[in-house]
Subunit: 67 residues, 2 copies
């Protein structure tokens, strides 16, 4: 599975585990809601600083989003 | 430590563990030598597909490059 697919699947899983909507994850992370939607639909190739921000928001190591 | 610093430090450590020059890592990964040098000097903010290619080259999970 492509790393962008792994990221999209992991964001959705971690977000739903927290019971957050995409809007709530956008608010918590400071990223735009449409960008969150794009990431979950594997429509983006984000930089590592974006992924680091999401990992900090979820309180998980970056590897849990990308491996 | 910023994620880009962690990446630069981990690339250098993994490369030296293999006894590779930046030129050899560039050849193995298909990335340009100057780009490898920039990553190690924390002068770039790469996308996750670049990091995935490096992880595959080193044979390690992406988390070992970013956490």
């Amino acid at each position: 599975m492509d790393i962008r697919e792994r990221l999209g699947r992991n964001i959705r899983r971690l977000r739903q585990d927290k019971g957050w909507s995409q809007e709530e994850l956008a608010h918590e992370s400071g990223l735009h809601r449409t960008y969150i939607s794009d990431l979950e639909r594997v429509a983006r190739n984000p930089t590592i600083t974006v992924v680091d921000r999401l990992a900090l928001t979820f309180g998980v190591p970056v590897g849990q989003l990308l491996d």
